[in-house]
Symmetry: C2
Subunit: 321 residues, 2 copies
């Protein structure tokens, strides 16, 4: 249930398949992101600059630009930049919460600069997102992004409230995923184009993305996911693999997560996997992707855009990290 | 240099002096603030609700409403609510940074719910501020508030960057205060009325507010300020009293703040006070208030509003906490 950022998502495939406009548009987003870390003096340059430069594959900006299409223009580039700034802000704050030493193979702001600095850097990235949009009067984008940010924070709170509770329902889990992950994917699509079906597409692939994330936490292998198996369990985060596994092996609900060490967490992962839960959750994620693609048919959409969005949808469940 | 919130600012005097419209308008802000903690289910209700209810005297909303005047209407109430939400968000985040157990005599979110929860609650309050304004298309307000939020975060970063550096200049100190405190006061006034002189008034009294805060950290008495003397020094925050004291007693710059315990911090406060620095800084704060009031003359302003704003200006330096 960690929001994964070291995701090598399907950007390469999409860029390979896209004809003309997408790579340069993504380049403009990168340039604007760099500007955000330059524009505020040496203070921000070190931390936020490093965070921004550390990259990730800009999946949310990609969705904005794809949905906006070839004629998206400056407004789409700004929206893509802003949503990535918000995403980065949440990552920096997540690292404060988790005391995470590394993200994307680089030391986190929290680790190098301390918690205080990381909270402030996150706040700064967050503020910059809204300042960027406000400076150009992009009211619709501000509204979408603010609502998505509210959902993100609520999702984070919900996850903390549920921590170590092995009794949570699948419905509650999905609600949390929707807030923590689905909403920002939905927002990305709507920022690109204000079409309900596209928002639904984004929300679906966001959910699928999170489900696969939660499978990978249990399945590993660590050398491909870049983190130890059972990291979420150690944090007390109960995810769908555990919930599904408990249907076959109800005693799983009785395990005291707060008593786990990393070895015990790995064994517990094996026990979850032994129920076949991982395949079931993977199948669920795949069917979400299928459902998402069907939404694209509802939107009257240019053939290339549709094809590229399908590639993104496939990509969110074809990854290891 | 701590952003003080347990401020009983001059609200009472202002409310006493104001004839008709102000108290009910402030009541609407309170109602909207309560709505923010109700509107998001039980998750937010506990933490954010407690934070909002804990109060403070709503100095920034007061400035918004005063500057907007009797005809300010719904837009002013929303702006006043939004700026208080941002302020509360920064307080909740500050408490994460400082591991503060109490604020305004109540346990902080960080202390009761943990750091993770506090970061998320702060993010939520922050997001709600922008969502509220965006929902009504208040673009100018969003723009002002986003820029002020950027400044707040930069100020916070600057303070962390300067921590334990007794060599910082007065200019750097003032720059930091401007970002951390002045900017949000300026924003409050401009949210109320888009007149440059009013913004300058707000920035000035914000600075004066911070200077007095920094005097109180050194002077105490704790039973009136509600915190131990030298709290900022223990955090490594070098403020104007120290900088001014070092002009009379240069060896003050040689003290290693990171080596202080609370007794040593108190003695160090005595040493700073012995130079007469506190009176000098108080005088500076008072002259800022005078300068601020002069700005009011530049704005073409209704007599009652002007009088009430003068009361606020006087009030920021007539307080103990």
């Amino acid at each position: 249930m960690t929001r994964r950022s070291s995701v090598p998502p399907p950007v390469t495939a999409v860029l390979d398949a896209s004809s003309r406009w997408l790579p340069s548009r993504l380049g403009e987003v990168e340039e604007q992101l760099r500007e955000q870390s330059r524009g505020h003096g040496e203070l921000l340059a070190a931390d936020a600059g490093a965070t921004l430069a550390a990259g990730g594959k800009r999946l949310r900006p990609l969705l904005v630009l794809l949905c906006a299409g070839a004629d998206g223009g400056e407004e789409a580039v700004r929206a893509a930049t802003a949503i990535e700034l918000v995403h980065m802000a949440t990552l920096v704050h997540d690292d404060v919460l988790d005391d995470a030493p590394l993200r994307r193979g680089r030391p986190t702001v929290a680790a190098t600069g301390g918690r205080g600095r990381a909270v402030a850097v996150g706040d700064l990235l967050f503020s910059r997102a809204f300042a960027l949009l406000a400076a150009h009067g992009d009211t619709r984008a501000i509204s979408l992004l603010a609502e998505a940010s509210v959902a993100l924070a609520r999702g984070e709170l919900a996850q903390r409230q549920d921590a170590f509770d092995t009794g949570i329902s699948e419905r509650r889990y999905l609600e949390r995923c929707q807030m923590k992950t689905g909403k920002l994917f939905e927002c990305a699509c709507l920022l690109g184009l204000d079409v309900e079906a596209l928002g639904a597409f984004g929300a679906e692939i966001g959910l699928a993305f999170q489900l696969l994330d939660d499978v990978l936490d249990v399945s590993g292998p660590p050398e491909r996911t870049g983190k130890a198996r059972g990291t979420d369990l150690l944090d007390g985060t109960v995810t769908l693999p555990l919930i599904v596994a408990a249907e076959a092996d109800p005693a799983i609900r009785d395990v005291d997560l707060s008593g786990l060490d990393s070895d015990a967490a790995e064994s517990f992962c094996d026990r979850i996997a032994a129920t076949g839960a991982l395949d079931q959750v993977r199948t669920r994620a795949l069917s979400m992707v299928t459902a998402a693609k069907q939404k694209l048919n509802e939107a009257q959409f240019d053939g290339e855009q549709k094809h590229l969005l399908e590639l993104v949808a496939d990509g969110v469940v074809q990854r290891y990290s």
